[in-house]
Symmetry: C2
Subunit: 615 residues, 2 copies
Amino acid sequence: MNTGELTDLGQQLRVDSVRAAAAAGSGHPTSSMSAADLMAVLLARHLRYDFDRPAHPGNDRFVLSKGHASPLLYSAYKAAGAIDDEELLTFRKLGSRLEGHPTPQRLPWVETATGSLGQGLPVGVGIALAGKRLDRTGYRVWVLCGDSELAEGSVWEAAEHAGYEHLDNLTVVVDVNRLGQRGPTRHGHDLDAYARRFQAFDWHTIEVDGHDVDAIDRAYGEAASTKGQPTAILARTLKGKGVEGVQDREGLHGKPLPEADEAIAELGGPRDIRVRVQEPPAARMLHSVHTGNFDLPTWDKGEEVATRNAFGQALAALGTGRGDIVALDGEVGDSTRAEFFAKEHPDRYFECYIAEQQLVASAVGLAARGWVPYAATFAAFLTRAYDFVRMASVSGAGINLVGSHAGVAIGEDGPSQMGLEDLAMMRAVHGSTVLYPCDANQTARLVGAMAGLEGVRYLRTSRGESPVIYGPDEDFPVGGSKVLRSSDSDRLTLVAAGVTVHEALAAADALEREGIRARVIDLYSVKPVDRAALRKAAEETGCLVTVEDHHPEGGIGDAVLDAFGDGRPVPRLVRLAVRSMPGSASPDEQLHAAGIDAESIAAAGRLLVEEAVVP
Amino acid sequence: MNTGELTDLGQQLRVDSVRAAAAAGSGHPTSSMSAADLMAVLLARHLRYDFDRPAHPGNDRFVLSKGHASPLLYSAYKAAGAIDDEELLTFRKLGSRLEGHPTPQRLPWVETATGSLGQGLPVGVGIALAGKRLDRTGYRVWVLCGDSELAEGSVWEAAEHAGYEHLDNLTVVVDVNRLGQRGPTRHGHDLDAYARRFQAFDWHTIEVDGHDVDAIDRAYGEAASTKGQPTAILARTLKGKGVEGVQDREGLHGKPLPEADEAIAELGGPRDIRVRVQEPPAARMLHSVHTGNFDLPTWDKGEEVATRNAFGQALAALGTGRGDIVALDGEVGDSTRAEFFAKEHPDRYFECYIAEQQLVASAVGLAARGWVPYAATFAAFLTRAYDFVRMASVSGAGINLVGSHAGVAIGEDGPSQMGLEDLAMMRAVHGSTVLYPCDANQTARLVGAMAGLEGVRYLRTSRGESPVIYGPDEDFPVGGSKVLRSSDSDRLTLVAAGVTVHEALAAADALEREGIRARVIDLYSVKPVDRAALRKAAEETGCLVTVEDHHPEGGIGDAVLDAFGDGRPVPRLVRLAVRSMPGSASPDEQLHAAGIDAESIAAAGRLLVEEAVVP
């Protein structure tokens, strides 16, 4: 395409963006119009992509970080022949694939769900890491960002990561239209302000007029040929470009154009330019899945092993058996034991330093390219990345997250290091799996099982050692539980997971000495929860005590009640959890102070079987 | 103090750090030793602080962002005479004020809890904003960071904010000891790499030998006299400085020194230098709390008003009545309606742009200085700041967070913009309050009530309009609820909040037409929850339907069950919530698709009273 044709294509993308938003009665046409020329040149001259084969290993990868500019993306799909005009006009309607913000759950050409700003570049870095270090099929990653979203720290985590890793297969194009949602951005059209920042993080930068198609073309060419550095193209644009009444004006973010028909006429009317997108080069995926020749580690009953150690060993073994397993660390691999994987599989280990948003985003990017990532840090610090976990679920990304140092049981380090909200956070994620093992053999099995699940999977591990209570051949299906104590005369059920399983067992022993038989359930699968076992226990024993090393909200107590939310009779129950703010103390002191140790469990159980209300 | 004395003081801080960690059997002496000279010079020559009067408005403010170096902080407190040696050696023990990571809940000289890296600078920016724009008593803010934590994006959000706001009352001192937890940092001793980054964000930078007390002294002087820019001092240091066996060595992070006695001898043995810290200048707080002459806005029953609008109007009115109210925006003030406050009180409005971590951190910093902050963004995007919310709770910070655009009811924008995990996230925070109003008058009252609460307060608002159902004089105590329908023959209770209150009312009407009387409870106070009303409803009606525009985990259904976790009989119940991943659709279509509209509620209620299990 020549200059005139590219310019025409940009106008077509604008017209179609205006039309889609007008048909929907909502959406972001002005944010689409500013980036239309940037998109036109990319689509027609630089992107190498087979829309009929989105899984083609040689395809370039495009991420629309400014996801609200979805009309532009869908207009580009139409120009590429991937969707037709009729579908374009279903934008934002019930059942349409063309959502307000793009998601790979609906559209095969979308790499990752966007709409929470500042996430597209971090995920793009993850994809670029896959391309550079693992896939090596030569694809480029193109990320189109807004200027407003450069205020997000996650963008600079990503910039730091990409610069340090010399990701020259990555180009970010910043649509500097100077207007955010509620008014001007911090830096307006000061392209240099952005360039200075990217340069400081060791990026190559190019400043360009974002409406000059030839200049854009040269910038893309320069980016593609720059070696050893990622490139940021800072493009000066106008929001609403091409329609006098809205161009460069405030107060028009996220609104259909007031006079759509006139605007379309002003843009030269509808066109029907069809772009022949460049074919990707022939390529094949390098990661082979070999599943032979590996055994998960096992331990003998009675050994004292921290579940974080079992995780590290199991992951290393899994990595030996499966070539598609990768691991990511947030600069605490010696604590989480992810470093066990690093020692055996350094080529598939990604050090993300203390940057949990990039840790999770890299996992999402790697998963988008077919890898099976395990990202580990302290459970407490996964809270840093909650928006990324939430969006991973919107993407349908298959990622494994591992949070160590759960709960007050870590001891002296105090509350800043204690995962006490992690179960609530992870359970509330749509389609998530939440696992919390209590011994080494169970941990290893669950680490293996996680790899085959869908969506966001979370494993909670403990810092301290605990006795191995299961044999090496025991099976732990996801969604199951283990009944550790049971008799015909059980008068109550203690439901625990992780560190509290051992406390519950001790409590059951104490109660038994008093003549009170207690069933003990190890609820290692917190979500999905074993409804059948819980209902059976409720029917047979009448009442439950739940006990968890977590705040009372959203954790194991709530998970148990999930089995009784369909109108059936609900057992009486007492919920033991961490209800005060912990300080520094030894692990045993912590469990006692929180009222989740064996003594507290036994006391609660005693009152409950007496049908007393527990204070 | 002269050079020799300052050097001696540095050694004393090292010795005391080693001693404290040795007594505890855990802790981070090596990370304390690298920064000991930096701390010595600050304490003896630059900090203006009255340890007897930590609330003195003229006090400088010091934040130990690398909170794990708490032995250094406590050793400095000892040198300043704030604690004695006996207390120093209680470090990390049960009941001690000297926790593994410092928190203002225990110690009056601590501004904010640290221990989650990358948070000290953002909170320091919040304090510096208070100093510069509100307090104006001339205090300086000193933040001591580690080098590892500069990988956190939140640090660069903070750097961007501080540079843009010309916070020349802020100095960050980076202890570049080149070693993180598991090994070398990305940039090692390359001070220039860090300087380039800060400069790009418009900071003044100084590179210095962090063990040369005279050079440090000059750097602090230069920082204090630099106008128009914040200053970053990049200090080259050695981890474990002063003890040959550990100095600059890997694998010694977070461990007491192996041979503490020998190390202490090598450092010259214990000293008892007492520092006379400079007095702060006379100053008084400027923010006066005037509570007269303001009325919260009211609306007539039947009006259609979005609760986000009511929030904005109420906050603006509250700001008129109280001079200590401030508001913060994440560049969506036109959507959250925080901009209503901006128009009336621009001097107390803080635009944080799209940087939710800095949004919450600024609120924490402002609260530390006695202001009452309301920080607003979309409920979905508060997930971005969860670690900051969690740490605010560890700090005991009194902050108000307001999340708009809750749930599927926002309609077409799709799941990336929908707050569907926010109730779970906020409920799980220790000591939090979670409020979710359904009409404008209720919203206004709750906005007012929030200001007087402790800890983290969260208000959830809705995008769409809803009818005003309460009169302007109705009272809404926190921890209360409203019974909207009630009779002696109620056969079930519908428990709802926010948008689902209106659906529940319609469902009750529909059920009544079939001869089934339903009680309706508006559970506007999700935490603390109105246990008495729920228990009464359970006793009187036998069964409950909970309905929420939120994922099923951690929200209103779980809050309701919190009233029955003490062993008392639990009512049968059905929990309606958003169980599938929404797409784009109109608000009504969304409620229907999620099964939380009036029709779905009525259907569930019908089955429940028939004692059927609800599919």
